[in-house]
Symmetry: C2
Subunit: 119 residues, 2 copies
Amino acid sequence: MTLDDTLLALADPTRRAILQRLSRGEARVTELAEPFDISLNSVSKHIRILERADLVRRRRAGREHLLTFNTAPFDELAEWMTAQRTLWMNRLDALDAMLRAEDRAAVPAPKRRKKRGSR
Amino acid sequence: MTLDDTLLALADPTRRAILQRLSRGEARVTELAEPFDISLNSVSKHIRILERADLVRRRRAGREHLLTFNTAPFDELAEWMTAQRTLWMNRLDALDAMLRAEDRAAVPAPKRRKKRGSR
């Protein structure tokens, strides 16, 4: 189970719709297949991809297979995204601070504005 | 630009490494290619996939092409993940509350514990 598995599993509207259904509670394969205009076999394939990414778990209740949503892989993905976004935001803040500092350096004293000329 | 584009663009370790580099500041294509053991052409292809997903933007500075990270597509993805996770957590809470209520119903008064027998 890697970030690649998670991302590839999520990169399909049918699989996202299956997860969306499972986020409202566990379900049988046939229940999951119902709203889709595709074969039960196709739905099973999608479910297997979700299981491989550990986004879906299967449990047996007697003769039934019940599928459950597992949100854990979301954590790793969310963590990665937050780290990148934070780095970028910090970078923008640093750039902003640098530009402001340059601006202040260009104006030796607050009341000298009129002498600055070409700006 | 869709959630599919975002997810497929992110589902590759080289492309995630490119974004990771860009999250520390904008860069030229050659700079981005440097740490990778693949051709400049391959790196350019990865960048085009990231541009198509609007995760990377290109700006010209004279004769140079500078690439910038755009975090906006992360928002839509994070929003979708949060919505699914919240639904699922609420579902678990509801289940928990239901089980507790059943438990209380099985025990008419708090002091009768000893009479409950087979548990």
